[in-house]
């Protein structure tokens, strides 16, 4: 990594289509320098997962992703013995070869099925490891991660410790649906991502949908801002702003008036009660200005 400064990291991220704010760029920079995992928290849809993907693109590393869910265990996250192959080996080798050979052999790395975590540290090329939605797992799983996160090694009883051949950049994301353990937090750099301000969201939308007229983009971002300020079950995410911008482009909208808004509202609001609320509050506001020219 030749990333010399925070600004360079930020530029590199911007080049691959991720406009990081200052803290995000700084933490990404620190993570690469200090070799510590990043714990990213924030509401859904602010680009937590996207940050990991962008890091992988900007550093040219492969992305190894572990999607967490309730009941995820080490056989699915770390490694597993390929017992079918072990069995075959025993049966095939039954005729020749001594017992010692077989015993040595079947617990070799040939018979190990690597799962994402193992894959991340044993890869010959450094990777970006994304542990997505860590808050969905049990506390026990968090405890299991500790060894990996602090020492970048995994202990397999039959083989001993496997240390990382290359240092991965680790990104953990959490939707804050439960408090993570202190032990886990202690090992990570903490980054809180929030919805971007108007200006930055403008930039983001324009980066992804450059063809939409600037005035419409601004209007769009302002409306999104208004919608987010309402007390919704699921506020629109950045990805949804981008989708909406694309939709408006397809519709050939010149401006966001009440009609366009009601037509395309379902792109950004996806809950029955929310739709009613948004139509009432935001739709009304739009109608107040019959011909908004911004």
């Amino acid at each position: 990594m030749a990333d010399g400064s925070v600004a360079e990291v930020k530029d590199a991220l911007a080049k691959v289509g991720y406009l990081a704010d200052e803290p995000a760029a700084l933490v990404s920079f620190l993570a690469q320098r200090l070799g510590k995992p990043i714990l990213v928290e924030g509401p859904a849809g602010v680009g937590k997962t996207e940050l990991a993907k962008a890091l992988s693109r900007s550093t040219g590393r492969e992305l190894v992703r572990l999607q967490c869910y309730e009941g995820l265990d080490e056989a699915k996250a770390m490694y597993e013995w390929n017992y079918r192959k072990q069995l075959l080996r025993i049966q095939a080798g039954g005729a020749q070869g001594g017992w010692d050979d077989v015993q040595e052999d079947i617990f070799g790395s040939d018979f190990l099925l690597t799962r994402p975590l193992m894959q991340a540290i044993s890869s010959p090329e450094p990777v970006v490891l994304l542990i997505d939605e860590i808050d969905k797992t049990d506390q026990e799983f968090e405890a299991m991660l500790l060894e990996l996160l602090s020492d970048f090694q995994i202990t397999i009883p039959e083989l001993g410790q496997i240390s990382a051949t290359t240092m991965p950049i680790v990104v953990l994301t959490s939707n804050d649906s439960r408090e993570l353990t202190e032990a886990l937090k202690r090992r990570c750099l903490y980054l809180w991502l929030d919805y971007p301000g108007v200006e930055r969201e403008m930039e983001i939308v324009r980066l992804h949908v450059p063809d939409l007229a600037e005035s419409v983009t601004r209007r769009l971002v302002e409306v999104i801002e208004m919608v987010r300020a309402l007390d919704l079950k699921k506020p629109p995410s950045i990805a949804e702003s981008i989708d909406w911008a694309r939709t408006l482009l397809l519709m050939g909208a010149e401006d966001i008036d009440r009609e366009t808004f009601t037509q395309s509202m379902s792109i950004i609001v996806k809950h029955r009660t929310d739709i009613a609320l948004v139509a009432e509050r935001v739709g009304m506001k739009l109608s107040e200005r019959p011909s908004p020219t911004s």
Partner: protein
């Protein structure tokens, strides 16, 4: 820096330098309840080696990302960061007798201190622009300019009063702005922007005051109000959450003891095959799927009537914390009737919203608004009884004041029989139990434990007793 023990006594400020200052800062954070471990401090130092110290934003972010590991911590961090480093810098200045006049006379490009009084209107315009741009550095300069314009040290000497005086004289208000001289409409200034400017004013006035008197005002702990989450009414929320997370661990382990051997076990094919390797592929020994410790099932009933008004905020926050910790939790609120509010808690993380929705949608006070415990038990039993089993724990939060109505303790006994354990948390001191219309005694005999509970300490006590192995009625 490694020679300094972060947990050592901090009475001696140590040699002047950043390391000592940082440790002092961490010490203050700890004083405010942020858990800053040694490893975090080491990380902070490591991080600071990587960023420039001259940029305040980088410095602050690097520290924050290594030290403050949650939103709440971050809030305290922000408050303390400003205060601590401001004080540190000022203390240094006082010690070395550095003053603005000694250094900066004539250096100010815009010539704030050099006597000539600025045109008020122009100043106002500039400040307004800076506020709209959110340009912090510019706002700070302008704040200094404004103070200079009104004469340094001419104010009342009370910082808060001076801030408002200057703001008023400048005619700065939040909200819509009067159109400019050329008749153009100007964008409104919102509250936050104005507060931002006031903060700069305050800071500069304080700096000025310190400089004149050459003493620092005493440091005081953050007022509770300062660190209050803007949305949560109770300061105890964090403490409640801690006690509840403790409770979670204990309930989980307790539950296991109770469980008998189940007859049905599931063969774990993968493990069986794996074990069969020892016997040449013949599965002689069967492995069973490990029984996952089942999560305790908890039913919480919470009284929200007027007689427990003072306690119900506390109870609701207990409920809120419980929901954070347990997945299999069903919660009910009751006054005259019972109403399930599990959904409300599951979809809302925000305490204020939860409290408000419960009062508006609970639909629990039908006729008189007085608690009817007898009816509540009946409803609870008919609705839920099939789902109660020895694994389940029922927790009642209420004062057991029936307003003279039939307590129906026999139905309560049935609930207690079906549930594995039943606890009662009463918001009244034990002294008042069974006085007046309280029928605590009637219920208490069916409980596995009844506790007074109106502070977090009581809650912790409850957790401890539960963990200590209260006899379990089976």
């Amino acid at each position: 820096m490694s020679a300094v023990s972060p947990y050592g006594p901090q009475a001696d400020p140590g040699p002047p330098g950043l390391a000592a200052k940082l440790l002092g800062f961490c010490e203050e954070l700890r004083g405010e309840g942020v858990a800053v471990g040694t490893s975090e401090i080491l990380d902070a130092f490591a991080a600071l080696e990587q960023v420039g110290w001259t940029s305040q934003d980088d410095f602050r972010e690097a520290l924050a990302s290594t030290i403050a590991k949650s939103q709440d911590d971050r809030r305290v961090f922000e408050l303390l960061f400003d205060r601590y480093f401001f004080r540190a810098a000022e203390a240094e200045a006082v010690q070395r007798e550095v003053t603005e006049h000694g250094e900066a006379v004539g250096g100010d490009g815009e010539g704030g201190a050099s006597g000539e009084r600025l045109d008020l209107d122009e100043l106002r315009e500039q400040i307004r622009e800076a506020m709209l741009d959110g340009d912090q550095d510019r706002m700070r300069d302008l704040a200094r300019l404004a103070i200079a314009a009104f004469g340094r040290g001419e104010g009342s000497g009370v910082v808060g009063v001076d801030v408002q005086r200057i703001r008023r004289t400048l005619g700065l208000t939040a909200g819509n702005q009067a159109p400019g001289e050329d008749g153009q409409e100007r964008p409104p200034i919102d509250r936050a922007q104005l507060t931002g400017f006031e903060r700069h004013l305050r800071r500069e006035l304080e700096r000025d005051l310190i400089e004149r008197t050459s003493t620092l005002p005493p440091s005081r702990p953050l007022a509770e109000l300062d660190r209050a989450l803007p949305t949560s009414p109770t300061q105890d929320l964090a403490a409640v959450h801690r006690a509840v997370s403790q409770m979670k661990r204990r309930l989980a382990t307790l539950g296991q003891v109770q469980r008998g051997r189940s007859k049905s076990r599931v063969v774990d094919v993968r493990r069986t095959m794996r074990a069969s390797l020892e016997t040449g592929g013949v599965p002689l020994r069967l492995s069973y799927k490990p029984k996952r410790p089942r999560r305790p099932e908890i039913y919480v009933l919470c009284d929200v009537s007027t007689s427990v008004t003072s306690a119900s905020v506390f109870f609701l926050s207990v409920l809120h914390a419980l929901h954070d910790s347990f997945r299999k939790l069903r919660s009910f609120v009751f006054i005259e009737r019972i109403s399930e509010v599990t959904d409300v808690f599951e979809h809302e993380r925000d305490f204020a919203v939860v409290a408000q929705r419960i009062s508006s949608e609970g639909g629990v006070a039908d006729v008189s608004g007085y608690t009817d415990y007898g009816r509540v038990w009946m409803e609870f039993l008919t609705e839920i009884s099939d789902e109660l089993d020895p694994r389940s724990t029922v927790i009642v939060l209420g004062d057991a004041r029936t307003n003279g109505r039939q307590p129906h303790a026999e139905i309560f006994a049935q609930v207690s029989e079906r549930a594995g354990r039943l606890f009662w948390l009463n918001p009244e001191p034990k002294l008042y139990w069974n006085y007046g219309d309280s029928v605590m005694a009637a219920y208490e005999r069916y409980c596995d434990g009844a506790f007074e509970c109106w502070t977090t300490r009581h809650l912790e006590n409850f957790v401890n007793v539960v963990a200590g192995g209260v006899p379990v009625a089976e």
